[in-house]
Assembly symmetry: C2
Homo-oligomer: 258 residues x 2
DNA sequence: GTCTATATACGGATAGAC
DNA sequence: GTCTATCCGTATATAGAC
C-alpha cells in the first residue's frame, strides 16, 4: 500500500512527505496488526478479521481514553463494537492481552518503522531536527496507540511496565547522544544535555497526550513540529552572550545533571 | 505551623525559602485536609482522624501510582493501611468520593496557596520566572497530589474531568499573559505565545509525572527549577539573529498559532 | 471508633447452540 | 465465525457486634 523510497525521506520535511514515505498508513495498520498476531487470533479469514480488529481496537482507544483501560469493561466494549462477548474472545485471549497487544504492536512494529527512514545523514543539528519531526509525525499518525501505551502501561504486566520506562530512558539517551555530538562538533551549546533531552521528549509526548488542547487552538502537526524544531534551535544556540542577566537569582546550573 | 511573611516571598528564590514562606507544609497538610472535609468524615476526634487520613491517602497515592486508581480495590487499600473495610468508610463516603476529595483539595486548597505569595511585583520576566518556580516547588512538595489529579482525573465524574482540562487551559493562559506582557514591554521576543506557554506547562507537569526519572539522574528540585527558568530565558530571548539558518528545511512558522 | 460478616452487583471468561 | 446463557470470583458498600 506504500512505496518504499523509504531510505530517502529527508527531502522536504513536512507531515505530508513523511506519510508518503512511511511503509504503513493509518488505513493499512490493521492488516499489519493481523499479520503480527495471527497465532492469537482465532478468526482466520483476513478480510473479516481486519475489519473487526479495527472496530475493536478503535473502540478500545475511545473507551480507554475516558475512564482508563481498567475502568472499561468488556461488556462496554461489546456494546460499543456491536460484537458479542463471545465474539470478542475470538480476537483477544483476555482483557490483559488486549492491552499487551497494543503495547507490543507499537513497540515492535510501529515505532521501528520510523527507524527505517534515513536518520544518519547530515549534521547533528539536522539529525536532531529529523528525529524530533519523526516523533511528532508518528505521534500524529498513531496517536491513540502512543497515548494508550503512555497512559496504560502502568496497568500492564510488570514486564511491559518496566519496558515503557526503559523506552523513555532510551529515547532520552538517543536525543542526548545527538546533542552531545553537536556540542562536540561546536555546532551547539548545551549546559545540561540530559535535562535538555528530557525536555524535548516531554514536549514530544505532550503532543499526543494533549491532542484535545492542540486541536482546540488549531495547531496542526506541521505547526507543532516546526515549533519544536525552532525551540530546539533556541535551546541549543551557540551564542555565549547568556541572554538576559540572571537578575539576582541563584543559578546552580553547574550542579545540574549526573 | 508556619510563619506568614507570605507576601514577601521573592527574596531568594530557592526551594528552601519557598517552603519556609508557604503556610502549609508536607506534615501539616492532613490537618488542613481534615478541616476541609469535616462534614464528610465520620470520625470526629481530630488526632485520630488526621493520623488515619495520612495513612489512607498516602497509601492511595502509592497504590494508584502502580496500576491506577481504578485498578486499586478498597480491599487492597484496607490491607495496605491496616484499616478494615468498615473502618475506611468512616473516612470516605465512597471510592469515587475518595478520588474527588483529592481533586477538590488540590484545586481548592493546595494550589491556591501558591497564589497567596506575591506574584505581581517585578518585570514580566521576573514574574514569569517566579511563576515557573512556584509550580515546580509546589510539584515537589505535593507531588503525589498533582500526579494523582493528572493521571486519574479521567476516572472522575464528568464535572471533575472537565475541571481538570479547564485548569490546564487556565494555567496556559496565565503563562501566556505574562509572556505577552514581556513582549509588549520589549523585554521578550516570542513568535507564538500560546505554544510557548503550553510547552512551559508541559515541562512543569513532566517534573511531577516523571519523578522516577529525575530521581534516577539525581536532578534536585532546584536543579530543575533553574533549568526551566534558563530554558524560558532562551526561548524568550530578544536576539533577532535567528540563531542558525534553517538549513534547507521549510519553516512555516508564520502559519503557526491561532 | 473499629471490626467482622454479609448483601448485592458486576466483570471476566467459557461452553455450547446455531 | 458469531451469539446466548451461565459460571464464578471479586468488588463496593452496609449492618450490626463489640
Amino acid at each position: 500500500m506504500r512505496n518504499d523510497n523509504t531510505a530517502n525521506w529527508p527531502q522536504e520535511q513536512c507531515f505530508a512527505s513523511f506519510k508518503h514515505c512511511l511503509p504503513v498508513c493509518r488505513e493499512s495498520v490493521y492488516s499489519e496488526f493481523f499479520e503480527a498476531f495471527r497465532e492469537d487470533i482465532k478468526v482466520k479469514r483476513e478480510s473479516a478479521a481486519v475489519k473487526n480488529l479495527k472496530i475493536i481496537f478503535d473502540a478500545t482507544f475511545e473507551l480507554a481514553s475516558k475512564g482508563g483501560f481498567d475502568a472499561m469493561s468488556l461488556r462496554d466494549l461489546s456494546q460499543s463494537t456491536g460484537i458479542s462477548m463471545g465474539g470478542l474472545y475470538n480476537y483477544i485471549r483476555s482483557k490483559d492481552m488486549l492491552a499487551q497487544m497494543v503495547n507490543d504492536f507499537l513497540s515492535q512494529r510501529l515505532a521501528p518503522l520510523a527507524y527505517s527512514l534515513n536518520l544518519e545523514s547530515g549534521s547533528p543539528r539536522q539529525r536532531l531536527a529529523t528525529r524530533l519531526r519523526i516523533y511528532i509525525y508518528m505521534g500524529s499518525l498513531f496517536r491513540p496507540w502512543y497515548r494508550f501505551v503512555y497512559m496504560e502501561s502502568k496497568s500492564m504486566a510488570r514486564q511491559q511496565r518496566d519496558q515503557a520506562k526503559q523506552f523513555d530512558l532510551v529515547d532520552t539517551a538517543k536525543l542526548k547522544e545527538v546533542i552531545e555530538e553537536g556540542v562536540a562538533a561546536g555546532e551547539m551549546h548545551c549546559a545540561n544535555s540530559e535535562l535538555t533531552a528530557s525536555a524535548l521528549l516531554a514536549l514530544i509526548q505532550d503532543w499526543y497526550l494533549k491532542s484535545w488542547k492542540y486541536k482546540q487552538n488549531e495547531t496542526s502537526t506541521d505547526d507543532y513540529a516546526n515549533f519544536l524544531v525552532s525551540l530546539m534551535d533556541k535551546l541549543l544556540a551557540d551564542n555565549d552572550q547568556h541572554t538576559h542577566d540572571q537578575t539576582g537569582y541563584n543559578d546552580h546550573s553547574g550542579k545540574n545533571n549526573q
